[in-house]
Amino acid sequence: MVSDLLMRLRALLQRKAVESELDDELRFHFDQQVDKLVHSGLPPAEARRRARLVFGGSDQIKEECREARGIHFLETCAQDIRYGIRMLYRNAGFTIVAVLTLALGIGVNVVAFTTFKVFFDRPLDARDPGKMVNLALVLHSGDVGARFSYPDYEALRDRLHSFRGLIASNGDTSLTLSGAGGSVSQKSSADGSLAGKLGLLSSSSSNKEFAATRIVSENYFSVLGIAPLRGRIFGDVAELAASPEVLISENYWQRRFGGDPALLGQTIRLNGVAFTIVGITPHDFAGTDFDVPDFWLPLSLEPLLHPDSHLLSDRETHSCRLFARLAPGVRIDQAQAEMNLLAGHLTALHDTHSDWGKPATALLWPGSPFPIPLNRLRAEAKYGALLIMLAVGMVLVIACANVASLQLARATSRKSEMSMRLSLGASRRRLVRQLLTENALLGLLAGAVALLCSWILMKALASVVAEAFPVQYGTVIFHVTPDLGIFAYVFAISLAAGILFGLAPALESSRTAVSPALKANPGTSPARSRRLHNVFIAAQVAVALALMIAASMLLHSSIHAFQVDRGYDKQVVDLTLKFAEGPKYTADRKGALVRELRTRLAAMPGVAAITNANAPVYGYRQAAVSLNGEVPLAQSQRAFIDYTYVQANYFQTLGIPLLFGRKFQSPAGQPEPSVILSESAAKRLWPGENPIGGSLRLGTDGQFHRKNDLVPDGPPYQVIGVTGDTRGATFDGSDSYLVYLQLPEDRLQDYPILVRTADPKQFMPAIHPLISSIDPDLEVDSETFEEMLRVSATFFLPSSAAAIASPVGLIGLLLAAMGIYGTVSYIVVLRTREVGIRMALGAPKRAILGLMLQQCMRPVLAGLLAGMFLAVGASYLLRGALHGLHTVDGISFAGVSFLFAAVALLAAYLPSRRAMDVDPMVALRYE
């Protein structure tokens, strides 16, 4: 052991001395041999010759001695690395292409991995976050109930002993901000931000300034262990009641107030209530959420903001997410067991009909802003994440396959180098190791480039995300500090990639170097490696094609969603009035304001018609429908159909045609007990019959509606007319089945005002001054139907999914084209002799080109076919998000496939031309 170590150390540290000793020793032996032969009577020259014959190659002996001494490992490693670097430098073109290809593959993986980590596997923003846990109940229905009512929070907080502190976060609300000095124009900030430009934000304009405010329990900051940057955190409940306090985030302080130090201690108004700013929370502090709000408010002051809601006392209002810090020495399963005991107690306090009134079990998991534990994600979400990871992983595999192709092609040109090294005494193992070292170097280099690039990319992304939303939406925090985990991930991938793609070509080239069979037959390509190439290419094409087709279908669908005829005029303007809560606005006062506003609006130039109703965009409430006067029960109902309340002039204002029958009578006291049906609803309820004069009853029992909503339960309604269908932003188009009821005149104030004008662009800027002149406290949002549709999920979801899928697909296409190019170049080189013979025998150049292209396009076609099958599967999965398209979208399929075939053909054509330039004489003489 010791002698072994000493020898290795000496070999390493005194390499020169050891080498010269080896020289001396072997020369001594040689001289002795010569002496002996001279003594036996040979002339010295002949003696030397004989001795040299016996001795053999001294370099080979030395190499074996080095190996025997154990010098080799570290030393030859260093040698391999030196040699590898030299080779990579000499073949700069190859190195750059290979490194960039790999870096692209690795970079895509790093970005995906980091993003996943940032969103799903993110700890709470707290001191010692490992001690924090999320609290939820697994309800009777199997759903995870992560939002508790405030009374439930109090019960848990006061009764559980496993925790050192239990906090509640009521989530973000948008409050009006006033008295802050200066003002940020909300409209312009929405336009100026990235999210605004992408159309992610509602472009509705408002006459007020808003601020994103998070309402949290008073102990929030102390339990998280966060000290304020300046000032102090909330006082106790009694102090707060005496003088309302608010904390401001550092991010908002900088973005809205330019870091004005005088802000501390000033008073601002949120929803008209005065609050004193007592502290500034640290930069980027997001607490239990993904984003930094503008203000932090204590829960006990919530009633000041919303006097009409009863959040603090209503046990059925589930709005608080709960987080806790484990008491020292308590394990998470012990805490869960304790909370389980209390779950039964909570259940007993709830309405027995509600989901929360049925038996439930406690669920605790390590603290994270993500609202459910990852293993309870819905199957679709898991499947989606898996698909993305698979696609991203495939990009890496494609990149590796490409580099392997490049290597394989290069192995041919390095054949002479390999045989030279073999005949100089290198063992085959040594050659393989040298090539592996070279590839590992390449992998590391690519890893370093990828890490650097993705780091820069993520940094840029983070600052884009941070500025993406206008200041009244808070600041999204996208932490991208490259942690050790991510670094290890890149490192492992790049090394594994280096070894992985290095292995096959290493064996291949050492085989070509030693195998006499190949030496004798260098003009043809080995069928085995070509098959491998073909599989690589087919797989690349298939995956990239499937991604691109999916992206194209999503894009197509979002364009379609936008262009489709909705059955109404999309330029109608929606004015939604928001009355402040509290005693100021009684129903009568609201009604009077709406009537006054309508009169004033009607006097404005270009205004053609005004009505009050919900916009036909976001869908309606549903009711069970029964015919022939029966009460709608589970067994007697004909269908669940949407209903909406409208005024008599609704159809004319929105441009919806009345197909037959008549409209509602103009208002005079109580609305008439009659309904108008959409065409689809009429066909569904009275298939093949005339619905006019028919009678139906509606039942909303068990359907969602708010406390003071108008409900159509009760008397039978007579059908008086049928109108054209309309369609809003629902995915399935179920809102085409619609029952119109007449809106009572005393409920106008509960519905938005819809205005048909000649030119909305001229009309909209004039609204805010008008409203300020009527009632400066009134808050109003104005938006055209078209703008509302643009931010709806049917438009936005497919387009953002396409935004993710298309770059990945494009990268795939690029890599596939590079792979095809490399492989074809390789085949052309390998088959030079064959082409030479064919040409010598009289084959025309066109035939040669045809042969090459045919050879290359076969795997491409196989890949296209496989990719289409994959895409059919993908479109089946996406069918919910695809708006108004058939499962197989012909344009996307044909268009993208054609694009792929063209790119592949081009990639194959360029190197194939070289085969045509082969001079038969040169090709054959080459032997």
Partner: protein, 110 residues
């Protein structure tokens, strides 16, 4: 060199080197000459095998090397057995005897 030489069976070279060095420190050339002579010129150790074997044995700690002066006054590297080399030699010899005896028994005409 001549038709009389026999190839060494695998693994016996180490035994021969250790046995030869048991007589006293020697340089590599002397070891090969001695094996050649003692075996009545039947066994010829090639340099290509001898020196790697010497270095391997040195690394195993069974022999150690030092530089000395040869009979014709040249610097030469001498190898000698260490204590663990002696033990190894005894064990190897024992094993070899058992092996050859067994092989002889099988080959002997019954």
């Amino acid at each position: 060199m001549s038709g009389q030489t026999v190839d060494l069976p695998q693994g016996t070279l180490d035994l021969l080197i250790l046995r030869t060095l048991a007589l006293g420190p020697q340089h590599g050339w002397a070891v090969s000459e001695r094996i050649h002579q003692v075996s009545s010129k039947v066994l010829q150790v090639r340099q290509g095998s001898l020196y790697p074997a010497l270095h391997r044995l040195e690394r195993a700690g069974w022999i150690k090397a030092h530089w000395g002066t040869s009979e014709n006054n040249r610097r030469a590297k001498y190898y000698e057995l260490t204590r663990s080399g002696r033990k190894q030699l005894a064990a190897d010899q024992n094993e070899w005897r058992k092996l050859t005896a067994a092989v002889d028994q099988i080959l002997a005409p019954s």
